[in-house]
C-alpha cells in the first residue's frame, strides 16, 4: 500500500524563499538551499519548488537554480514556474527535477499536458490548479497569481487535465492561502470526486492538526503546505507525527518521532520534563544525511 505523502511547497521569488499571503503579499524568508536541506533531513516525502518570478518576468525555468538545489534534494523534486514546452521539461529534468508542475501554460494550451505525458510519462506531469470561491459558491479556476479568471470550475479543469494525461493535481485555494484557517475541504472533495489520479491539497494550513482532514475528509492522496514549514524546527517531522496520531499512514524514518508527545492548539510540542527531552534520540552525526 502506498503511503500518504507530506509535501513541502517552497515558493521562490527573486531567488529567495517567501511566505505567500492571499496570493498578493510575500514575506522573504531566506535562501532556498537551506530550506531544502532542512526539510529533506526532516522526513518530507517530496518537494515542490515553485519559481514565482518566472511567470512574472515572462521567462522559462531557472535551470542554474534547479541544478544547484537538486544537489541537496534526496526526495522527489517537482519544479513549477515558467514551464511551457516539452523542451522546458527536458531541461528541467536534466537539471535534476523528477516532475514538472504546469498551471497557466496548461490552461492556455491543454495539449501541453498530453505532450509532457507522452514524452516523459504521466507521472511527470503535475497540473497545478489555483481556485477561488466565487460569490455563487462555485470554485472557479484562476491563473496569473489569481488575477485572471477562467470559465471553469476546479473540478471541471481537473477532469480535463486528467483526460489530457496529467498524473497528479496540485490543488491550491487562493482564499485559504496564508489564512491559517485550514484546507478548503469542500474544494478538495469536489476535485477528488471528479478525478481518479492523486490530488495534493494545499492552502491554509495553520497548525499540524489541519493536515489530516485533507486526506481523511477531502480524499487527497497527499497534503502540502508552504508557510508553516518555514519557522519551526523539525517542522515536517512534527507534521508527520501529528498525521500518524490522527490515523494517517505516512512514512516517518527520523529517530525524533515524538510518538508519545502532545501538541498545543497551534501544533507546537507541549513542554515536557527534562528527562523526556533527554530521552529523545536524534540522528547521530555519523548518519548519512
Amino acid at each position: 500500500m502506498l503511503k500518504k505523502r507530506l509535501i513541502a511547497c517552497l515558493l521562490v521569488r527573486d531567488g529567495l524563499i517567501v511566505q505567500s499571503i492571499g496570493f498578493n503579499k510575500y514575506l522573504p524568508i531566506g535562501r532556498p538551499r537551506f530550506a531544502i536541506e532542512f526539510v529533506v533531513r526532516w522526513d518530507v516525502d517530496e518537494i515542490l519548488l515553485l519559481d514565482m518570478s518566472a511567470a512574472r518576468e515572462g521567462r522559462g525555468p531557472d535551470l542554474a537554480l534547479i541544478e544547484m538545489l537538486s544537489r541537496y534534494c534526496f526526495v522527489p523534486l517537482t519544479v513549477g514556474g515558467g514551464v511551457g514546452s516539452v523542451a522546458d521539461v527536458r531541461n528541467v529534468i536534466r537539471s535534476g527535477a523528477d516532475k514538472v508542475s504546469v498551471n497557466a501554460h496548461a490552461l492556455a494550451r491543454p495539449g501541453l499536458i498530453t505532450e509532457i505525458a507522452e514524452a516523459f510519462g504521466s507521472q511527470c506531469a503535475v497540473v497545478s490548479i489555483d481556485a477561488r470561491k466565487d460569490a455563487d459558491g462555485t470554485h472557479r479556476v484562476y491563473s496569473d497569481s489569481g488575477r485572471r479568471a477562467w470559465p471553469l470550475t476546479a473540478a471541471e479543469w481537473a477532469a480535463q487535465a486528467q483526460a489530457a494525461g496529467a498524473g497528479e493535481i496540485f490543488l491550491n485555494s487562493i482564499d485559504r492561502d496564508g489564512s491559517r484557517l485550514g484546507y478548503d475541504i469542500d474544494l478538495i472533495r469536489e476535485v477528488t470526486a471528479a478525478v481518479s489520479i492523486p490530488v495534493i491539497a494545499c492552502g491554509g494550513v495553520g497548525n499540524h492538526g489541519h493536515f489530516a482532514p485533507g486526506i481523511l475528509d477531502g480524499g487527497a492522496s497527499a497534503v502540502a503546505a508552504a508557510n508553516i514549514f518555514q519557522h519551526m524546527e523539525h517542522s515536517t517531522i512534527l507534521a508527520k507525527a501529528h498525521l500518524l496520531k490522527d490515523g494517517v499512514d505516512v512514512r516517518l524514518d527520523s529517530q525524533a518521532r515524538y510518538a508519545n508527545r502532545d501538541f498545543d492548539a497551534n501544533g507546537r510540542l507541549l513542554m515536557t520534563d527534562l528527562q523526556t527531552l533527554l530521552d529523545i534520540e536524534f540522528a547521530s552525526e555519523h548518519d548519512v544525511l
Binding site: K3, F74, R94, S95, G96, Q123, I197
Partner: protein, 210 residues
Amino acid sequence: MIGIIDYGMGNIQSVRNALERAGTSARIVLQGAELAECDGLVLPGVGAFGQAMANLTAAGMVRAIANRVADGTPLLGICLGLQLLAEGSEEHGWHPGLGLVPGRVRRMRVAPGSHLPHVGWNEARRTPVDDAGLFEGVPDPSSFYFVHSYALDCDPGVVIATTDYDGPVTAAIRFGSVFATQFHPERSQTNGLRILRNFVAHVAARCAHA
C-alpha cells in the same frame, strides 16, 4: 571509482549527487570502453525498455557491461536499470535485455481502481535471501520511492526485498555481484542513501582485497 552509465535515459545527475553524499566520487561513463576504468558500476534509468537497450547497444555497453560483471565487478541497477538486467521485457512488445539476471519483466497486474504507474512511497520488506550487506543499517520494513509500471518476475532466490501493490512486487535483487533496486535510492531520503553507501562500501571492500 564508481562509473554511472549514461545512455541518455533519465536523471543521471541525481544519482551522482546521491553517490557523492553517500561518500564517493562518481564519474559518468558514455562509452563501453570506459567501463574498464571503473571499480563499480551504477546502471540508472527512467523510460522505455526498448529505447534503453537500443541506446546501450549503440554505446557499445551491452558486451562491456557483461564483461565487467563476468569479472565480478559490482553493479547496481536502479529502476529501469534493474529491469534491463533481465532476459527481456514485454514493454511495448518483447525486447531482449542484458540477460545478466534470470527473469522476465512484465506489466504489473493491479486490481480495478488501482493505478499504474505504481508511484510514491511504499514499504519494502526483506526476504531471507542474502543481500551481501546492501540493506545493512536499514530498518525492515522501510519505505522507498517507486515509479514504475513493469516489474521483474524472477526466481525468488534472487529477490532480496519485495513491496506490495495489489500483490508482491520485486523491490530489490542480488545475483552474485549484481545488485538492483526497483525503487529510487537516490530519491528515498536517509534509507536510500544508506543503500548507496552500502554499495559504495561493497565496491571499496572488493578493491581492498584485489
